[in-house]
Assembly symmetry: C2
């Protein structure tokens, strides 16, 4: 079983990032497998766009292909003045909008050679295999929460039981509560300007609403995501509230924040989403932002960055940002502090 | 015991971030406690500068006091073109250097009102307290690894046993191996330019070298950090290698990366640091960067950002960055992907 665990990645599609920033703009040579598209049209039309593992070639956009301007040889004096306290207290580094597409990274995606992840695994004895599988799966979960893992499509096969136990036991609830506690304490510590422009952004799925009943029927992440099935679940408007998030939400409202709900669900699901949210206790928000027709096919990080920046462009100050995916929290206009809720069931790019 | 855990933060100094970006540049009103200095001179002269909990007033630098230019009302069309694929595949959002100090955030630090973190804790029954303490401590650790926690000075009192068990058992080693595996797989997936400018940055303490023997004598993070004692340990040059990091290190070298060691240790500890590194197997590196006289008192995030930017200014491409602290990984010139090694024993700002 351990050997299977150690090779779990072999039979799965583990996709890795390859950012060729500052590397000459020729397409990178591939290693065994074709490069994957970044801009696959979202199949999961009515939801957060997941990473799609299609194997058609990547075609970077023209802006991406441009050589980046040299940040490599700025004058030291100019640099020195600019380094003071960059992003120190943003929980996630705040990506300041430079309004210059030339300084954007040009990420590429490719699949690693099979079995390339195994060499550092310490040989596991035959004794205590279950314990070791548990520990390996815990390491996998922590690596994901710290954003060390490359994008993945399903939970590692041998971690199915671990993830199910985690999600259905106390650990997940405690983790959620800890994040909500930290967020609430932070929110209370802020002296709001009080002009109605103090904002907090919440993701919806696995941040305010729990889709655990759905994932219980789909292996808690062991199955490859099926957008058609998931949309049928969404349309039922039956997702329960994450209780710690609901308490945080009410506290954030009480403190005077304007709340923005920013979800990867599509505009077509607006009515059921509102119905679901209100039914389980989320009553007030400034704006519910869903993917419009122009947003489909965008990476979640891109879509959410754009929408957050539209919020700040209206004059709102995003002081807090809560989401279960790193794609909720990275990018631009991320706000002064971000809070990563746990989610070992799926990864959205 | 649980009640003590729930109030663990009360008796400790839990410092929180307050970023007043885009808020008028008046000093923020305090809540009960004085604002803390950002630029306290490092007492722990020979090491990573830790967060110093002095209670003297904060004096933001002039550049910090300036009102930030408005990113709130850029033209939508200009914004749209610039949002494409921001930071998508950087594990940590890459903070692109804008060379404009006006767009820097102005973080402030203050201490939360006592006991402000408790309200969302679910009441804990008398049954199964040990299990619940364990789970709460696991949640605390998870929150730290995901960078959800505000800066902290010591491990929560009730989590001392948990952290000791974690550090001395298999879990820590497995977590380290998982991160090294991911980093190695990523490194192998990159097609290096091969001009000698492909770079990887490693932190030293708790990234390449383990100070576990020291922390075993100091409560695994339960004691407030004592720089004098720690420096005596450093001078012994007896820190063992983190084995998974050593394997990764050798793989990175074999692949042709230039390695930069970027440590919060001071220049005065260069000789013992080199001795220690070489003794345990780290043989080759391009440059070992330590805190010079001008770097003391800087936040680790600032210091490391500056030094990484000097590296890129020399033309190197930082493709990977490994560290156990978020301050190793946030800021500017963070590289194409970052890898956060676990460390529940201390937090460095």
């Amino acid at each position: 079983m351990i050997q299977r665990w150690m090779r779990a990645k072999e039979g799965e599609s583990y996709f890795r990032a390859k950012d060729k920033t500052r590397v000459p703009p020729t397409p990178p040579p591939l290693r065994r497998r074709p490069v994957l598209p970044l801009f696959t049209k979202a199949k999961n039309h009515g939801r957060k766009t997941r990473f799609s593992g299609d194997s058609s070639p990547l075609h970077p956009s023209p802006s991406q292909q441009k050589t980046l301007p040299s940040l490599q040889n700025p004058r030291p004096s100019a640099m020195k003045s600019s380094f003071i306290l960059l992003f120190v207290f943003s929980t996630i580094a705040v990506a300041h909008q430079t309004l210059d597409p030339l300084v954007l990274p040009r990420p590429l995606i490719l699949e690693y050679p099979s079995g390339d992840d195994q060499i550092f695994q310490t040989p596991i004895s035959n004794v205590g295999r279950d314990e070791e599988v548990h520990l390996r799966c815990a390491s996998w979960r922590f690596a994901g929460e710290a954003n060390n893992l490359a994008p993945w499509k399903t939970v590692p096969a041998d971690c199915g039981a671990y993830v199910k136990d985690y999600m259905t036991g106390k650990a997940y609830r405690f983790d959620l509560e800890m994040v909500a506690d930290e967020a609430a304490a932070y929110a209370r510590s802020i002296s709001l300007v009080g002009d109605g422009m103090d904002a907090w952004v919440f993701d919806v799925d696995e941040t305010l609403l729990s889709n655990l009943p759905y994932y219980a029927d789909h292996g808690y992440g062991l199955e490859v995501f099926n957008s058609h099935e998931f949309d049928k679940w969404v349309d039922k408007a039956m997702a329960p509230a994450i209780q710690s998030s609901l308490k945080l939400y009410e506290e954030i409202l009480r403190l005077g924040f304007k709340i923005f709900l920013l979800t990867g669900r599509s505009e077509g699901q607006k009515i059921v989403t509102v119905e679901n949210l209100k039914k389980v206790g989320f009553q007030d928000w400034e704006k519910l932002i869903l993917r419009g027709v122009n947003d489909h096919g965008k990476l979640a990080t891109t879509y959410k960055s754009e929408k957050r920046s539209e919020i700040t462009a209206e004059g709102y100050r995003i002081l807090g940002n809560s989401g279960d995916q790193w794609s909720d929290l990275l990018g631009s206009s991320t706000g002064n502090r971000s809070f990563k809720l746990p989610n070992p069931m799926y990864y959205i790019l």
